[in-house]
Symmetry: D2
Subunit: 142 residues, 4 copies
């Protein structure tokens, strides 16, 4: 199983701008969340109601102000690696590297490392990444 990069274009909304005239630091996490859903969709995955992914840790570095306009969020799975996924280990956490780019800028304006865990939504108990992925394949009974 291999996972590709997703690149999501998002318009900055006027409401994203704070009193200092740039995108507020909390809003960047909204961009990252939108991009994680896009990343899942590009792997052909649509989470259902039964198995859900929840953020357990977020690290974000803010390198540059984000002005009104457009951003591109690039998302890759950093961990588990392809080898780890092939090893048949049961994996309970995934880490996504997410970078927010301004148009034509070579370096990201913000960079996040987001750790997610997987839950059985009704029971609120942990499930494995493999269970989450299996339940997120469209057509699978969820």
């Amino acid at each position: 199983m291999r996972f590709g990069e997703s690149r999501l274009q998002l318009p900055v909304r006027p409401n994203d701008i704070d009193g200092l005239g740039h995108v507020n630091n909390a809003v960047v996490l909204e961009y990252l969340e939108a991009a994680r859903w896009d990343w899942l969709a590009r792997q052909g995955l649509v989470p259902g109601d039964r198995m859900i992914a929840v953020v357990t840790r977020a690290e974000i570095d803010y390198h540059a102000e984000i002005p009104p306009g457009q951003v591109e969020v690039r998302t890759v799975l950093e961990s588990p690696t392809a080898d780890e996924l092939d090893d048949d280990l049961i994996i309970y956490r995934a880490r996504l590297r997410q970078r927010v780019y301004l148009p034509a800028a070579p370096k990201p304006a913000a960079s996040g490392l987001i750790t997610v865990a997987f839950l059985d939504a009704a029971a609120r108990r942990p499930v494995s990444m493999q269970d989450f992925l299996a339940a997120s394949v469209p057509g699978v009974s969820r």
Copy 2:
């Protein structure tokens, strides 16, 4: 110069709740930002328009779901330490430890370590924490 802890009660707004029925991970950063302004106010500080604090890094651990209701955010300055402040070093970064508690819960539902830097708002160039603090004393020309 000594800085005390601030404890800010915040009502969870219905709009803070996401499709999973709990406070969204991005909203927790809104709580932390509100609490940092409260922390400043409790030190007798009110930032002006000239010297501003901007978040350069955020690390947040999400330990438990935050349901509708009330939260308390407790904020302390973790770095620089009191000794470092007394040492007449010029300090360019501050780190605040911020914990979000649910009513009657002994452990925090979320815990953040927020790094801020200080800027001259017009020139967008770094200034020291000492300059920022001096400019945030009410009555000082800002």
Copy 3:
């Protein structure tokens, strides 16, 4: 059945402030929603998952800028009237008058008239206000 006024104090969050330095017009609707939940709670009502209230129309007049600080939202049921409720008519819509006050200001900074309808959440079909209220009494099987 009589319904009283609710008065909810809400802190303005830094994220509520837009590029113009005051509370954004969309955020005022977040305040009104928080106040409607407070209004329900003060009538001893807690909506369950089965019968829900949804906003079908909102009219808001913005009279004055809302600066950082605190607001008070006052909410009353404007329609149906007490007489209409006593008449045993089946009522499908309610209108709440909601006003947002700044501290010590005699006139509201914003005033909204919010129309809500009631739905069976699973079936997404209309139910009456009476059904909604009956299902929102705590302890009732929901």
Copy 4:
């Protein structure tokens, strides 16, 4: 002077979804605000810092739930009319009709009528629509 329609595609963000699983009523006003900026841009207008438009009244009808996905917001100037603009009357208020469409749906999911007034930002005093428009032509000293 004639003003055309703008049609803005906006992705629904996960954070726009509330506990009921659809876009929250307050978020619809964020979509409308983004669309008003798009409408201005399509007329070749970019507001500066000196003359600003502020919302004085919003009326929104919510016709249908907005699910995760994409929306299109269509914005037209409803008042003043072309004739009124040609009449050399001084105009202090404009009304924009804004409709939110779901993909492939013939009828809008939400429809808003937004009244805006124009202000001198520094003096916080009313200016005319004509003054606002003149100050929003790029290249004009603002």
